[in-house]
């Protein structure tokens, strides 16, 4: 095990941190990077393409791991708005809770939130996978286009509103479904998908068969006057 490179944000600036991490190429073999004292600063470890392990040792501000492109980032604390927004690849794991818009528009990679996520988790999702150990707030997966959201707890109001082709799985209660979101059958393929994601998220102990599946009813795909209330 290589010794960790330590970057202390009480000494270094956010710019120093990001410049160092972004300078690493995709073929970098740098050992783990330990970022101390993040203290809720914004835009930490954004746009990193190297497959490097980054530990953000404490709570982070907005957009931590934003546009992550291959790094494996662990946040040992809570994350503010937009954690892993527009992630392209890699992993972002939040050991605590995440605020609004977690994983917004993410295209690839895996976002794991061990605690709860606030409103609009997975909004406009574009292909990434999100696993939430706790519950998610209202309007989660709003307009989600593709990818998967797995919620081990409950979902707030208007889950999957105006959903496109993303797939949603919830183990607990769903307060309400948004426009054009409907329950779908939970077959063997769906169970396998959920089981694989839970496994990658380190939550393999949870039974994939205990989830319900939701997807788009596709009634809003072509405008029709009788659906006008849904717009």
């Amino acid at each position: 095990m290589t010794a960790a490179t330590v970057i202390d944000l009480d000494v270094a600036t956010v710019r120093d941190l990001n410049a160092r991490l972004q300078a690493l190429g995709r073929d970098s073999n740098l050992g783990p990077v330990h970022v101390r004292h993040p203290r809720g600063r914004h835009a930490l470890a954004v746009g990193v393409s190297a497959p490097v392990d980054i530990l953000l040792d404490g709570p982070v501000g907005y957009y931590a791991g934003g546009m992550n492109d291959g790094a494996r980032i662990v946040i040992d604390g809570n994350a503010a708005t937009g954690v892993a927004e527009n992630m392209m690849a890699g992993l972002v794991r939040v050991r605590g809770d995440a605020s609004q818009s977690a994983g917004a528009t993410a295209h690839g990679g895996l976002l794991v939130i061990e605690g709860n996520a606030g409103a609009r988790c997975g909004i406009s999702l574009k292909g990434a996978d999100i696993v939430v150990g706790g519950s998610v707030g209202h309007m989660s997966a709003f307009m989600a286009q593709s990818g998967t959201l797995v919620v081990c707890g409950d979902a707030g109001e208007a889950l999957g509103d105006s959903l496109y082709e993303a797939r949603l799985f919830v183990r607990g209660a769903v307060r309400s479904l948004g426009a054009d979101c409907e329950e779908k059958p939970m077959g063997a393929a769906e169970r396998a998908l959920v089981a694989a994601l839970l496994d990658r998220a380190g939550m393999a102990a949870i039974d994939a068969a205990s989830f319900r599946c939701f997807g788009s009813a596709r009634r809003l795909y072509h405008f029709h006057v009788d659906n006008a209330q849904a717009y």
């Binding site: 907005y62 957009y63 708005t81 527009n86 406009s124 292909g127 593709s146 496109y164 072509h222």
Partner: protein
């Protein structure tokens, strides 16, 4: 009744005029609002309502061919390490691949590059066609985030955060199924052939305080190199410009209600937002009060057609202008040579605005490969470059006549207003007076 008794002739109502009646009938038959492209078509106070005074005894003009009149602009000098340097103050506005064909995007890039100016992506991501052929390419960051990715963010020359558009301040994007081909669908992560509704609010920030943090993130993602533009539709320009500046924008793009769109509800286009003319003065005042005029550059768009419009926008305080509709016309949109085909579509050259339907005979607002192939991007680029050169020379002719050695030296004092409305909106004196509505007497 004798045959020669005078009769009341048929009289069309001014309130229920023919177009209004036809629209009610259409709505009743279809149950869907009218969607179209282009900008507001009604008559609005505009640059035509202003005049330049020219030089005379108290000011002297510059010689046409011998005395230089500069046209270059630098956009993004406030924070960015590498601002955009352009030779003319006319840029190409953001128009999406999806709304426009790949060839049209390429032609815009080619024309802009010949003219030494920038072009802009749109709601649908960056195409190789436009990146490859554009010297300066501005990458739009929109609520939908279609096709947004790190590689393109790093290979663009500036980032434009779109908050609104003049044609539809407060509205999201729209692209109808006919234009969601496999390529467009793949770039946007959408199923092909569906009517796409895109969000009008950004997914991960709301309000100016969040925007400041978002801008910081974009700068961190791109090493503080690229200018960050913020584009707003003209609605409350004084406050919106001030808030964009506070949030950290390098450049503010202000788009008035005549500004074009690829597809929006007609009711939205014609009834929401401020005319371009009315929006500039409040925007400039906000910049001046913050000590940021000329430090945060102001780009104005919405109905810019000629060098006179360019000169007037600059004289009111803009640093540059941006064109959408006029650029498409330069490429060949609404060309009279296509009249027979426009007739077949139930319209006529000069009125064609069903850009959302994807059947454009000029091959510009389409994804149909056969139609798109009609537009030669090299020729189109040349035509656009010609047009940009003409507009620039026109603006220079006016500036020299006003005695200015650079387009940026044009100032409000060079102009008067022709109408009370224009005088009130621009605070320029009504022609022949030293008064504008609202000015204290004396």
């Amino acid at each position: 009744m004798p045959a020669d008794t005078p009769r009341t002739p048929p009289r069309v109502s001014a309130t229920f005029d023919r177009a209004t009646i036809a629209e009610i009938q259409r709505a009743a038959a279809t149950g869907i609002y009218d969607i179209r492209g282009g900008g507001a078509k009604r008559r609005l106070p505009h640059f035509d309502d202003l005049l330049f005074l020219g030089a005379s005894m108290s000011r002297y003009p510059l010689e046409g061919y011998r005395e230089r009149c500069g046209t270059d602009v630098v956009l993004g000098t406030r924070h960015a390490k590498t601002p955009i340097e352009i030779r003319i103050p006319i840029t190409i506005a953001g128009m999406s691949f999806g709304a426009l064909s790949g060839n049209a995007k390429e032609a815009l890039g080619r024309g802009a590059t010949i003219a030494g100016t920038s072009t802009t992506t749109g709601d649908g991501g960056m195409t190789e066609e436009e990146r490859g052929h554009s010297r300066s390419l501005i990458y739009q960051y929109l609520p939908s985030r279609y096709g947004m990715n790190l590689r393109d963010l790093r290979r663009c020359d500036a980032i434009e955060i779109v908050i609104g558009q003049g044609a539809k301040p407060g509205g999201g994007g729209m692209l109808l199924g006919q234009k969601i081909t496999d390529r467009v669908a793949a770039m946007r992560d959408l199923p092909p052939g569906i009517d796409q509704r895109s969000a009008c609010r950004h997914p991960d920030w709301t309000g100016p305080d969040d925007l400041e943090i978002k801008i910081e993130e974009l700068r961190e993602l791109t090493g503080w190199e690229k200018p960050i533009f913020v584009k707003i539709g003209a609605s409350r320009p004084y406050y919106d410009v001030a808030l964009a500046v506070k949030a950290g924008a390098d450049v503010v793009v202000l788009d008035g209600m005549q500004g074009g769109t690829a597809a929006t509800q007609e009711v939205f286009i014609e009834h929401v937002g401020l005319p371009t003319l009315a929006a500039i003065r409040p925007a400039v005042r906000a910049l001046q009060e913050l000590g940021m005029h000329r430090r945060v550059q102001l780009v104005v768009s919405g109905g810019i057609r000629s060098g006179a419009d360019v000169a007037k926008a600059l004289a009111l305080g803009a640093d540059a202008v941006s064109i959408g509709t006029a650029a498409l016309i330069a490429l060949g949109d609404n060309a009279p040579a296509l009249e027979a085909e426009y007739q077949a579509l139930g319209t006529t050259a000069g009125a064609y605005d069903d850009w959302h339907e994807g059947r454009d005979p000029a091959g510009i607002t389409t994804q149909d490969p056969a139609l798109a192939a009609r537009l030669d991007p090299v020729l189109g680029g040349r035509r656009l470059a010609n047009y940009l050169a003409v507009m620039t020379m026109e603006a220079q002719a006016i500036a020299r006549a006003c005695g200015k050695s650079h387009l940026h030296n044009l100032e409000p004092e060079d102009m008067v207003a022709l109408t009370m409305e224009a005088a009130a909106m621009t605070q320029l004196p009504l022609a022949g007076t030293d008064w504008y509505p609202g000015k204290a007497p004396g």
